[in-house]
Symmetry: C2
Subunit: 220 residues, 2 copies
């Protein structure tokens, strides 16, 4: 110990690293070999000062007077996030959303491998979705014995979400991505992130309304 903290990247920075990664990939595809913090920041939609500070948490991977080597920086960020290994993902709830997710090509291209599609409804069992067979939810535990499930994606109705989460936690899943509009209670060692369409829309509606009443007040 008493060594510089090897871990300890601020949460806000962690949330931006994937954005930088994507910007770097785009630049690499365009044949760019080197880029300045200014250029990368523009591609990622952030300020250059913020970008440099974010990258400084990972180490000193740039060269003063030159900029960053695109391929090298991309590798370093990928390594920090954990994209050198691939993460087995299980999707629970193969309805409208679950099927769209299963068909999403962005999973595999970014180091995530969908290993199982689970659902309660018997009429879905055995059906092929995106090259995988939909299996009964109760097979979760036997699947968990064979593969070391890293991430569980919940795409079931809100009232079933907590139950599914409990079962995922019980078989050792420690990262959950929840699409159901429900607050999940999980043990401390389990990470949950939620994607909530309704919330995003309501935030937009708030600003929309605020702009409207503001304009009205200005004209009145």
């Amino acid at each position: 110990m008493t060594h510089s903290t090897p871990t300890g990247i601020p949460e806000a920075t962690v949330a931006r690293l994937p954005v930088y990664l994507r910007a770097l990939t785009t630049l690499a595809e365009q044949g760019t070999e080197t880029c300045s913090s200014e250029a990368l920041a523009a591609a990622a939609g952030v300020g250059s000062a913020k970008l440099r500070k974010d990258l400084s948490y990972l180490g000193s991977y740039g060269t003063r007077g030159v900029g960053y080597d695109v391929a090298y920086l991309r590798y370093q960020i990928g390594r920090e996030i954990g994209l050198t290994q691939d993460w087995p993902v299980v999707v629970v709830g193969i309805g409208n959303l679950g099927q769209a997710l299963a068909n999403y090509s962005g999973f595999r291209s970014r180091g995530f491998r969908v290993v199982a599609l689970l659902d309660d409804a018997p009429e879905l069992h055995g059906r092929q979705v995106a090259g995988l067979e939909v299996r009964p939810f109760r097979e979760l535990s036997s699947i968990a014995e064979r593969v070391d499930l890293a991430i569980g994606v919940i795409a079931v109705p809100a009232d079933a979400a907590q139950n599914v989460a409990d079962r995922l936690v019980a078989v050792g899943v420690t990262s959950i991505l929840n699409f159901a509009p429900a607050v999940l209670a999980v043990p401390d060692h389990v990470a949950v992130r939620k994607v909530d369409l309704a919330i995003e829309l309501q935030i937009l509606a708030y600003h929309q309304q605020r702009r409207a009443t503001e304009a009205e007040g200005a004209s009145a």
Copy 2:
């Protein structure tokens, strides 16, 4: 002026109001008429102090020694967010994700009305999805003349996203929800929120990896 700022709710608070709203709805469905900040905070998954401070930006809608009237508070938050009116929504890109979104019941139940489904692909035109006919993207402007489009949802591939955004802005849309993994450039008066599955997964992967290396370091 020199009156208490009528607008000016912190962004972080705005993002939580929909969560409180949903918790209140759940409580109301269970027949609860009144609740304390402690109880509501638990249902919303936040601390009670944070909840009270958030609500204090809206006004004093609680009663000391008693708590909050569920129906009344729900109305007040809904009014603040703008749920008393309904917002016309257009979805662009009716592929895997777009179809799932079109079928999402949470839209209408929360004051959002999908008025048009647009796509470029001729083979989709005229097809019925969730009771609406898919129309060519070029009809956007004529639709915008008939209805006052409030929110545009982008569910097209990443390389088409900026173009779609530009067209939406051109017809007067000032709120955009973007599902494509791309950074959108829009004028200042346009609000953009993004939902990015890949980013969420990568954030989870980071924490997963950190836990793994941490445990390894502890045992070594």
